[in-house]
Symmetry: C2
Subunit: 331 residues, 2 copies
Amino acid sequence: MISVQEIARIANVSQSTVSKVLNGYSDVSQKTRDKVLAIAQQMGYVPNAAAISLVKNKSNIIGVIYEVASGFSNLFFSSILEAFRMEAEANGYTLILLSQNTTSQKTYWMQCLSHKIESVFIISTRDQSTVESELKNHGISVLTLDPMKESANLIATDNIQAIRLSLETLYNLGHRRIAFIQGSLGTYIGKSRLMGYLDFIKEHQLPSLYIPSISNDSYSVQEGYDTTNALLDQFASVDAIACCSDVLALGAIYALQDRKLRIPEDVSIMGFDDLRLCEIVRPKLSTIHQDYHKLGKMACENLLTRNASTQNQPILVAASVVIRASTRKRL
Amino acid sequence: MISVQEIARIANVSQSTVSKVLNGYSDVSQKTRDKVLAIAQQMGYVPNAAAISLVKNKSNIIGVIYEVASGFSNLFFSSILEAFRMEAEANGYTLILLSQNTTSQKTYWMQCLSHKIESVFIISTRDQSTVESELKNHGISVLTLDPMKESANLIATDNIQAIRLSLETLYNLGHRRIAFIQGSLGTYIGKSRLMGYLDFIKEHQLPSLYIPSISNDSYSVQEGYDTTNALLDQFASVDAIACCSDVLALGAIYALQDRKLRIPEDVSIMGFDDLRLCEIVRPKLSTIHQDYHKLGKMACENLLTRNASTQNQPILVAASVVIRASTRKRL
DNA sequence: TTGAAAGCGCTAACAG
DNA sequence: CTGTTAGCGCTTTCAA
C-alpha cells in the first residue's frame, strides 16, 4: 500500500502538501493539486484509517449492539440496521459490531474507548438494564431501539399513534365492539399501546373489550390464541380484534377458526408489525407497518448530533396502516 | 484517557517496560509487573486501537457484509452472525460492517485496506457476482455463506446430506411415493438439493415424482402452492412431499388443504430451514434444521486460518432433522 | 502557495 | 530485567 509520503516523493512536493490536497484544502495551486490527485489515483492510494484516527483522536466509527434476541423481531432489525448503515456511510461513518462476551474481559465501553467510538446504537441486547447507563457514564452517546422502559435515549414507533391508527381503521369500517389483545404490560411498548387503546375507546365511547389481568409477555401464537378465547368467553360479541403483534394476531386467527368464526366476515383482525408473516397466513393479515427505513435513518442522524451530556428527547416515528384480507366493512 | 506514557511516568519505569507488561511478555520482574498492572487498572487504562494498528500494521478487525436480501433468509442470518461474532471475539477480533453505497466512492476493498482488514465474511449481499473476486484480488480472504454458485470460498449446510436426511426420514416412515419440491435450479443450493433427491430415489429405486421444468426461484408460498398442484395433477398418488424450504412447504400445506387432503394423515410434509414459521403453522412443520451456530462459528474459525492466495476448500456443515406434526407413518 | 518539523500512542529492536 | 530510540502514516502548526 502506498502512503502519503510516497506520493509526496513522486510528486516532488512535501507530505503536508499532499495531505492538504487529499483533504480538500484550498491553499494549494491547481497544478500541484492535479498532479497529486493523479498520482494518488494511479497508485491506488487508500488512507490508513488508524493513522488518521491516531492523529485526529477521532475514528468516525459508530458502535452497534445487535445481539440475537428471542422472537420474530430479527426480521425487522435487519431492515433497520440496513437503513442505519446507509445513513452512517453517507455521513462518512463506519459501523462496528460491539460484542461483550462473559468470558472475555472487554466490555462495550472499553471497546468504544479503544476505538474512539462516541455513539452507540442499541438495536437489541440481552442485558438492557445496565448497558445504556454504563456507556453514558463513559461519555458515549446512546440510542436504544424499542427499550423496555421509557428513556430519553429511545427511538421507537409512535405506539400510541400506531395503535390508534389500527383502531381508527376498524372504527371506520363500522366496527364498534373492538377487542384488544395487549402485549407485555411490563414494557414501554406494551404500556403505550394499551394506553392508545384506552384513550381511543374512551374518546369514541366504545365498550372496553380487553382483559386487564393478562400480560402477553412473549407475544406468542399461544398467547394470542388463549387471549382470544378468553375475550370471546367473557364478552358477548366481538366485531373486530386489534392485536399488539402479528404473531398474537395469528393466534387470534387460529382461535376464531377453531370456533368456526370466519375472518373477516364475522370478525376483522388487525395485526401489528407487518412481518413477512402477514403475506403468508390465510387470510393475509391487515396490520400496522412500522417505518423501518425511517427508524434506521433517523436513529443515525440523531445519534450523530446527540451529545452524551446534554438532555435529549425520545424519537418517535409514525406508523402506517396496511390493509390486506383480514379486515372488512361490518355488515 | 490515560496512555502508556502516563503509566510509565507514574510507575517510574520506561514506556517499553509498561508495554511489555501490558502485552504479557515474560522478561519483566514480578514486582515491576505488579506495580504497572496496578496503576493501569486503577487509572482505567484502555489501549488505543488505532495506535496499535498503526505500529503493528494489523488491526484484528474482520469485515462482514450483511445486506438485507429479499426472502425469509434474514431470519437465520442474524443467528449465524451472532455465532460468528462470539467466535471472533474469543479470538480477539472485532467486526466491522462493510458498506458499499453507490453514491459514496468507498468500495468494500477500500474499506478493508484502510482498516487493515484481512478477512471478510459475506453473509448476504445484493451483488454477489463481483464482490468476492474483487476482495480476493486485493489479497483479502473471503468466505461466502450460501453463494449462488459453487466456489472454494463457500460455507453452507451440506445440502445433499440434508435433503437425504429429509428423504430418509420419510422413507423410514414407510413412504415410497415421495415427491420433491425443488428450489431455484439456477443456484448452487437448489442444484445440490435436487441432486440429493435424484441420488436418493435412484438408490432406493423409488419413482421420480418431481417436475424437472419448474424452478422455484423465489422460494415463495405461491410457488410451493403451484408446484404441489402440478405434482398432484401429474402423479396419481403422493405419500409425502419433501420441500426445499419451509416457505415452499407452507404453500404445499395450503394446496393440500384446498384439495381436502389431510396432513399428515394423507400426505406427510417435510420442510427445510427450521424457520420460526415451523412452530406457528398448522400443523407444525417437520423440517431440516440447519446448524446456524456451527455455521457461524466455523465460518470464523476457518476465515482466520484462511489465506487469500492459497487454495481453499468449501466448508459444509451437517444438518439435522426436526420432527413436528406434519409427518407420520404411512398407514 | 509550499515545506519543515513535531507528535498522536504504541511496539520492537537493541543495548546496557 | 530495564531503558533508549526509532518509527508506524498521517495532520497540523508555523515559518518561509
